[in-house]
């Protein structure tokens, strides 16, 4: 009934329809997974070798819209033997999750100190996406991670406080408060991470001071102390608009 030519056209179009999605998928999947692997590798390096962190927080007249906080981290190390234990790719969201692990006997950390890791397995997770619209939760998670590092340093090393305060009728009114943090950190472990129902990310980090003392082979004051913190990160800056208008003024 159906002419041969039409029949063959239908068959070709069905074949193209089936084949095309895989052909169109391109390198997005590979790129996303590769990026997640790099994120996991960085997390491993930050955990074992360590990182240098510089952070400032400033608030004027106690107005939240004037709050300015920035955190920068730096790390560079050569680590061999990182294994990818688990790779998950969500095609719908274009998000990849990679769990990486490494087992090392010894390593020289960011401060140039030799650490005896005794083949302990260090494990970290990395997330990535190639779609900018999906980057929000991943950015929030990284922000939470940096916040946790900063809190650990604040508790262990300390920080600098600078302020100008007005006193009126014996009542303190803070005019300008600034905190500064600059230190190196290593052997911080991630205990838990995730996102709450509002989309804000959290990272729970722990640092066992007695473990560090043993690994470094040095006696540390406060040995036996376990420092636990929870870093937070958001997807959006609620004060972006007010800051822009303030700058224009």
């Amino acid at each position: 009934m159906i002419p041969k030519i039409i029949r063959s056209l239908i068959v070709i179009s069905v074949c193209v329809g089936v084949m095309a999605p895989s052909g169109w998928s391109g390198n997005k999947r590979i790129m996303t997974i590769r990026a997640a692997k790099v994120m996991a590798e960085r997390a491993i390096v930050e955990s074992i070798y360590g990182l240098k962190l510089r952070a400032t927080e400033e608030v004027k007249d106690m107005i939240p819209a004037s709050f300015e906080g920035s955190t920068e981290t730096k790390t560079q190390a050569k680590i061999k033997g990182i294994k990818y234990e688990d790779i998950v790719y969500d095609q719908e969201k274009d998000i990849a999750k990679v769990t990486a692990s490494v087992t090392l006997d010894t390593i020289t950390n960011i401060d140039g100190k030799k650490m005896n890791l005794k083949n302990k397995v260090y494990r970290r997770v990395g997330f990535a996406t190639s779609t900018p619209e999906m980057a929000g939760p991943i950015r929030a998670l990284r922000a939470a991670e940096l916040d946790a590092y900063k809190q650990l340093i604040k508790q262990i090393v300390g920080f600098t406080l600078e302020s100008q305060t007005k006193v009126e009728n014996y009542i303190l009114k803070s005019d300008l408060v600034k905190t500064k943090v600059l230190a190196t950190l290593y052997l911080a472990e991630v205990k838990d991470y995730g996102w709450d129902k509002y989309g804000d990310a959290y990272v729970k980090m722990v640092l066992n001071v007695s473990d560090i003392s043993e690994i470094l082979g040095e006696g540390i004051i406060d040995a036996g102390q376990i420092v636990e913190v929870e870093g937070q990160g958001a997807q959006e800056d609620d004060f972006k608009a007010s800051r822009k208008s303030a700058k224009k003024k």
């Binding site: 709050f67 929030a140 262990i156 803070s174 509002y198 997807q235 004060f239």
Partner: protein, 136 residues
């Protein structure tokens, strides 16, 4: 016929309410994802931290300004401040200084006669005159 129309009306109202509810929920969900609560909390923490540090300075003025630089460390579950720079400006002192500056002793000009031909200055007897050209 009538009951059918009423039913349709109810259905459209319910649909409208559901739509409005979903819209508001999605709107709030988006706005909750921001950093407002975190920043407000951190601002409060910084204020309390600063107040703790400033209160360690003895003899704070009633009205004034305090400039402070300190190293803060966690010790025994508390934040300890090691203040290495402090400047306290007392507003009352400043006002007092300004009052002194306006006193008539400084910078006022006395009316009088200055005779440049006389060897001695009439204003200060027994002292060498500044206007003495012969240096006597």
């Amino acid at each position: 016929m009538m009951s059918g129309r009423i039913m349709k009306g109810y259905a459209s109202i319910i649909r409208l309410l559901l739509f409005a509810g979903c819209f508001l929920f999605s709107l709030f969900t988006v706005s909750w994802a921001g950093n407002k609560i975190m920043v407000e909390q951190r601002t409060k923490e910084l204020d309390e931290l600063n107040k703790q540090a400033v209160q360690q300075i003895p003899d704070l003025p009633k009205d004034g300004t305090v400039e402070l630089k300190a190293k803060a460390e966690h010790r025994e579950g508390k934040i300890q401040f090691d203040i290495y720079h402090q400047k306290v400006y007392d507003e009352e002192e400043k006002i007092a200084e300004l009052d002194n500056a306006n006193s008539p002793d400084d910078g006022t000009v006395k009316e009088g006669i200055v005779d440049i031909n006389n060897k001695k200055d009439t204003s200060k007897e027994g002292e060498k005159s500044e206007n003495d050209p012969e240096d006597n």
